[in-house]
């Protein structure tokens, strides 16, 4: 299978060399596409000098719009799988193979890398873990998807999921909602255990005050999921 690794990056010039090193060490044969989400630093130049394909968004769209650009690229260039891989060093490339494996075997359309299935690694604070459990419960309630780590941005999408996400991908903390969008139209969601690291440079994009917004936004989004068949071409979008 042809795999595209999509690396959304906003001002990650300092972290990208580490990401490249990580990918190289994993021995993956996948193509890499860095989506420069309107960075003000040298993200695009650094990505190009590392030999990655680069998508330069002219304005900052946020993680949803950036990841969707990667899915569009994957769709147009006929990739069988697209893996979201953060540009901040949190994700571990040695799990790429495990993440794509259920797609390769045709057992799933979306595969989430979960911190909570296996042991060890960085698992975030207790408060966030409680929030994640709540989201996981809510997702199961709304669309039957059983996912232990719905906020994980380390995930792989097969052809059907690539086509869906290229057309409709949520914005603004899109991870849990994207699972719901997929499960709603019958995509099969699977999970594999992964370990994550704490980011090497810079702060997490989710500060204490934004957490309230995160949960209000995602909860409302899950409550108001569009009915299957009534979805417009792109959800706000």
């Amino acid at each position: 299978v042809r795999v595209l690794v999509v690396v959304p990056a906003f001002n990650e010039a300092r972290n990208l060399p580490g990401v490249a090193e990580d990918l190289r060490a994993s021995g993956t044969a996948a193509d890499v596409c860095v989506v420069d989400d309107g960075s003000t630093d040298a993200t695009a130049q650094v990505a190009a000098s590392l030999g990655f394909g680069v998508l330069r968004l002219p304005v900052n769209l946020g993680i949803g719009g950036a990841v969707q650009a990667g899915y569009l690229w994957a769709e147009r260039h006929g990739y069988d799988a697209a893996v979201q891989f953060d540009g901040d060093g949190q994700h571990d490339a040695s799990y790429l193979g495990a993440l794509v494996e259920p797609l390769r075997r045709g057992e799933a359309d979306v595969v989430i890398g979960s911190r909570f299935l296996g042991d060890g690694g960085f698992r975030s604070t207790a408060l966030r873990r409680a929030g994640i459990r709540y989201l996981s419960w809510f997702l199961r309630l709304r669309c039957g998807a059983r996912v232990t780590d719905p906020t994980s941005g380390f995930r792989a999408a097969g052809r059907r999921a690539i086509a869906l996400f290229a057309r409709a991908y949520p914005s603004d903390y899109p991870e849990p909602e994207a699972i719901a969008v997929g499960a709603r139209v019958g995509l099969r969601v699977a999970e594999v255990p992964v370990q994550m690291r704490e980011r090497t440079h810079g702060a997490s994009s989710i500060t204490a005050l934004r957490m309230l917004y995160y949960f209000l936004k995602v909860s409302t989004a899950l409550l108001l999921l569009p009915l299957p068949g009534q979805r417009r071409g792109s959800m706000r979008a």
Partner: protein
């Protein structure tokens, strides 16, 4: 037209004048093509509605009685809020549909830029494998 017991004339006339000025301003914006007619229709329709109620206050009393509002001035406040809420909602809808378009255009722009750079570099379009500069 004039019913001082409902709407004092010294209130009615300035209100009419202000609403007419506002309507004239919106129409002028449309004629100068600063505001597409499509986006101004709601403003024009709702302002004409407000003008009618101000010019013929008995309409307001009749309307208030119809929906069971005892004090017509409360109906005015209610209608005013509705007027603003409707117009703000229509602006919000327009803004988010624009945001969706900007998103898709930016992505298209990024994809095209990548294609151009690939063509310029004289290779087949597409990202290169990890670690192969």
């Amino acid at each position: 037209m004039f019913h001082p017991e409902i709407l004092p004339i010294e209130v009615q006339l300035p209100s009419l004048a202000i609403q007419l000025l506002f309507l004239g301003w919106v129409l002028r914006l449309v004629r100068r093509q600063s505001l597409p007619l499509r986006d101004s229709l709601l403003w024009i329709a709702s302002t004409v509605g407000a003008l009618l109620v101000t010019a013929f206050p008995r309409l307001l009393v009749a309307g208030a009685n119809l929906v069971g509002v005892r004090v017509p001035s409360n109906a005015v406040f209610g209608l005013g809020l509705l007027y603003v809420a409707l117009n703000v909602l229509s602006v919000t809808i327009a803004a988010s549909s624009n945001a969706a378009r900007v998103r898709r255009l930016s992505q298209e722009c990024a994809l095209l830029r990548a294609e151009i750079e690939a063509l310029r570099a004289g290779r087949q379009g597409g990202p290169t494998a990890a670690g192969q500069p």
